[in-house]
């Protein structure tokens, strides 16, 4: 076992998969010579050469389409969006080509699109967005969002080995801020399975991404006040692990859904609906959603702090729900 950061976990997953499987290759802007805007692929160009780590022109739709074409004839491309915000340029290829290929004409499209997302980094409106919502409603895609270095490595490997198009949401804020112990041997975190980040019995907090750490911090404080929180880390956004969601609701009967994505029409809305539809008789209080405010991401630090859910918001919601 050794400790690595979230970013190193992603890098290792890419490196190990590229070494293991010659059909894996990476393409994106500045991934080669520069080593990637966040240095995720540093050293890869020297190790794997310009035909396995391709510096592309500034055309997300073009190189995502190319990734799809390569995948159809047996490659396993990993596309890097420099910032998740630019994924909208490739919307058509992802939604109308990649997502629908297998359903329409039986052709598997094993691409992974890495999207560095999330705020709290003074990036402003186009370097901080959470993009999982844009694709949540598109049947045929898979979306994953790890919150720990361990899951980051395991989920990326699973995504690369998976035969469907996977949008891999890596949270930029977590890149160098969190570490985890990982085993030496090869391991994979299955897509479609949530994880209990913290066991508890009084209230469930269902969340993913950087917000898992916000929830954990809040849970620590709440423990001191005698409130036991159960935290479910979804890990996979699409398809949702309904079983884990229903199991925790049946256990605690009180639910807070927490995500960094904006509130209206976010993943939390779907989770809430599922719970009311299938676990109505298990609810001892309303389902509370904590999410970013419904605006573009503001720039100034004070405004961004108000925009993104903070530990205080979680404390406030849980305490209210416990008193209800």
């Amino acid at each position: 076992m050794r400790e690595i950061t979230y970013l190193e976990a992603i890098k290792e997953a890419l490196d190990e998969e590229m070494a293991r499987d010659p059909s894996v290759f990476i393409l994106g802007e500045d991934v080669g010579v520069y080593g990637g805007a966040f240095r995720v692929t540093e050293g890869f160009y020297e190790k794997y050469g310009e035909w396995r780590i391709l510096d592309t022109p500034l055309s997300e739709s073009g190189f995502t389409g190319a990734a799809i074409g390569a995948a159809l004839v047996g490659m396993r491309p990993v596309v890097e969006m420099q910032f998740a915000d630019f994924i909208s340029c490739a919307f058509d290829q992802l939604v109308n080509v990649a997502a629908k290929n297998h359903y329409r004409w039986g052709a598997a499209t094993p691409i992974v699109v890495r999207a560095p997302y999330g705020g709290n980094i003074h990036g402003g409106a186009f370097h901080s967005q959470c993009i999982e919502g844009f694709f949540f409603n598109v049947a045929g895609l898979k979306i994953v969002a790890p919150s720990t270095a361990y899951d980051a490595k395991g989920l990326l490997k699973a995504a690369i080995r998976d035969n469907d198009p996977v949008i891999y949401c890596e949270h930029k804020y977590l890149y160098r801020r969190i570490k985890d112990s990982i085993p030496e041997e090869d391991y994979v975190v299955p897509i479609g399975k949530a994880k209990i980040a913290l066991e508890g019995k009084d209230v469930s907090i269902i969340t993913y991404g950087a917000m898992v750490h916000t929830a954990l911090e809040a849970a620590q404080t709440l423990k001191g006040k005698g409130i036991s929180c159960e935290i479910i880390d979804l890990r996979t956004i699409l398809p949702l692990d309904k079983k884990s969601i229903f199991t925790t609701v049946k256990k605690t009967n009180k639910v807070v859904v927490l995500h960094e994505q904006t509130k209206t029409g976010g993943v939390g809305a779907e989770v809430s609906s599922l719970i009311t539809e299938y676990c109505f008789d298990c609810l001892d209080g309303p389902i509370i959603r904590i999410a970013a405010q419904d605006t573009p991401v503001p720039y100034s630090a004070q405004m961004e702090e108000a925009f993104i859910p903070q530990v205080k918001d979680v404390l406030s919601a849980v305490e209210k729900l416990i008193r209800y």
């Binding site: 799809i68 004839v73 109308n96 004409w105 039986g106």
Partner: protein, 325 residues
Amino acid sequence: MDIKREDLLQLYYYLKLTRRLEDRVTSLYHQGKILGGAWTSNGTEAVSVGYGYALEKNDIAAPYFRDMGVFLIRGISAKRIIAQYFGKRTGVTGGKEGNVHIGDLNFGVIGFPSHLADNYPVGAGAALAFKIRGEKRIAVACTGDGGTSRGDFHEGMNFAATRKLPMVFICNNNQYAYSTPLRLQMNIKDIAERALAYGIPSKIVDGNNVVEVYKAAKEAYEVARNGGGPTFIECKTMRMHGHSEHDSAKYVPRELLEEWKKKDPIVNMEKYLWENTIAKKEEMDSIDVRVKKEIEEAEAFADESPYPEPEDGMKGLYATPIAEE
């Protein structure tokens, strides 16, 4: 380049097969037997037959919706195509897709969405894979004049040119994108000029002359195969029917249609075979009989085929289903 006699006869056969199948579909459409819409390549068959026939078995095609000739040449049977038009379970996509939305990797044909020119970058991607793996295979993508206005047309060509991929880009310039004539689509005379912008050599050919298209395509494929990078081939032709079979195309001036009717690609080929004493009349007639029979049998097959079950619509979403526990 010399073309073998058998190949010329095959080109003629495929022209006739394509025309017959699509005429039959048009007729069935007017009888209300086609599920949904019908799009044909009437008048432009020489483009798809020409570039399709020049491909090697292991090459990959990323066609668009006026490429019936390519589907037939690559081996997707008329049976499955008509069954798809009827929405039957035995259609190419088992009922999941309809009309010309055909794709089957067993025959090296990449399925396309309705969004035109999406297939340009996708085709380039296949070519990229071939280059990475050092294979002597090429990819070809085709779109109409309409598709050349979309961003993906440009992004795909740029990507292929920058990386010098083994790729050929075809444009079926049939002069109308639905009701929009060329002059409302672009400010240039030849679409081939666009290739210049990406540093791609281009050719302009008579899209109603299957031999010319075939030769140009074959040469371009060899250039790509030998590492010479992509070529852009603009085929000048005319769309003789409406955008789809519901469209009477009243917006096309009658004179234009009359002029191009005289240049029908099948009549052209017959003249060519006849005048150059390449084929006897009996041979051409027997091809005609063969084609008629093939399409009849295909239609009968499609008629007798069952419809899919409604529940089949829930299947096949993921290639790697999520494991149940």
